[in-house]
Amino acid sequence: MTALSVSQRPGDPPAPRRRRARRPARGIVLNVVAVAAGLAAWTGLSASGIQGLTGPVEVAVRGAELIADGTLTADLLASLRRVFTGFALGTALAVPVGFLMGWYATARALIEPYVQFFRTIPPLAIIPLAILLMGIGETPKVFVIFLAAFLSSVVATFQGVMDVDKTLINAARVLGASDRVIFLKVVVPASTPFIIVGMRVGLGAAWGTLVAAELIAAQEGLGYRMQQAQLYYDLPTIFVGLISIGVLGLAMDRLLQLAERRLTGWQERR
């Protein structure tokens, strides 16, 4: 969906205004149509009697109940806190490490084997180890999310730094820029688009790891709630959990996309 929304944006400057104004409206109508069709299909499937499948109405009712008694809010907050902590720590570390790897060949050679190695291990596979080493509190959950976010954004950042146009660096150099100035005024802004893409991927990874992380003896959280619901064969609650995760993930991705447009609107898109 990332690639799609990027390529959809009207790119070339010459044929602009009218298309840009009309397209989003048409796109939103189609979005609504697609969602409505999906809900209708879901209703149809549950009505036709697939074993135990609940329909949208039941799920909406359960959602309202969970909101009313405060469970959903508490779960959301618990999950969001974990995702944000892990994601914030992960990207906060990924950006400097990525810059270090992109800028200094020595740092790259020292760090890259670890990054590439841990990238091949699904973060979920770390969970058993994390529990044994860190107990069953918040730490192992946040750690696993942190790892997922870190690994995906560090690679994007250092690729971004390595891909900075050498001519731009030379242009700054011949104007008298020192290495420090080149780094701060050329490399950082030039690699911002990559960093943000990395953050979006990292956020997806963090969110994707959350539920599994919450299977580790959590007391609250969307993943915990869904696992409890599974024990009691409570499908509506599972659906409420799934939809909440999807909606929140989408909202967070949109926020980052907004930031991306703000920060990287200078890019020439072809």
Partner: protein
């Protein structure tokens, strides 16, 4: 006339897979103060390498390059460089691009703004001072790059096929504009091109280079007055010099056996 840049026995070898490639072979060349020199030659003659060395971006293998008698060591704001690919910072407006070099020097804010504005006016981008590069045409981008180089007040302008990526019409316009800018604020210019017409139209002196190994083949004086005009471009004298340059570019008898 005093000498501004001087290439003294400059050679450069690049290591290829299994052989060494002699890109430049003992080049000697003096460029006088406020002279407009164009360097033309077939691809692979090392003309861009020569310029990059003057810019301090590439080190000579042997020999040395002197600027006002002092050896060039690394890049510096005394030599403005204009690249074929414009090399504007895409996240900065025209004005901020032009101010980039001024920000690196101890220039007071007020003076910085004035100098940037003057450079922008000089290249005719006044109305686009606050536009981002992505909204500019290729010709305007290159004018912005010229303004950026002029703003830091360099002694020398080094231009590496600056109009190479532009269409023929825009190219002619920019040639006139460059000469216009140059006659208002005269600098020493070393201009690399592969376009014979362009080389003759702009220069006091055309340096024709030969390839394999890269070396100076001929130096042809252009005894035509400035300002150069369309009339001059279509005149028989221009055609004569152009033919002479053309001939020495395209019919080079190999001086060195390979």
């Amino acid at each position: 006339m005093t000498t501004k840049i001087s290439f003294r026995g400059v050679s450069k070898t690049f290591a290829l897979k299994d052989t060494d490639f002699l890109a430049l072979d003992r080049v000697d060349l003096d460029i006088a103060d406020r002279e407009f020199v164009t360097v033309v030659g077939p691809s692979g003659c090392g003309k861009s390498t020569l310029m990059s060395m003057a810019a301090g971006l590439v080190e000579p293998g042997t020999g040395e390059i002197l600027l006002d008698g002092a050896p060039v060591a690394g890049p510096g704001p005394d030599r403005g460089v204009i690249f074929q690919q414009y090399a504007l910072f895409p996240w900065l407006t025209v004005r901020k691009n032009v101010e980039f070099g001024l920000n690196l020097a101890p220039v007071p804010a007020q003076e910085r703004r004035e100098r940037a504005q003057r450079a922008i006016d000089l290249v005719g981008l006044t109305d686009f001072a606050d536009a981002l590069p992505k909204t500019l045409s290729g010709g305007m981008k290159q004018r912005c790059a010229i303004a950026r180089a002029y703003a830091v007040n360099p002694k020398v302008l080094l231009m590496d096929e600056p109009f190479g990526a532009l269409d023929a019409l825009t190219r002619v316009q920019l040639q006139d504009q460059l000469l216009d800018t140059w006659s208002q604020e005269r600098r020493t210019v070393m201009f690399i091109t592969h376009d014979v017409d362009e080389a003759v139209y702009l220069a006091n002196r055309v340096i024709v280079m030969a390839a394999r190994p890269g070396r100076v083949h001929r130096v042809i004086d252009v005894d035509l007055p400035y300002p150069r005009t369309e009339e001059l471009r279509l005149s028989p004298e221009f055609a004569r010099i152009r033919n002479e340059v053309w001939h020495s570019v395209y019919h080079q008898t190999s001086a060195h056996a390979e």
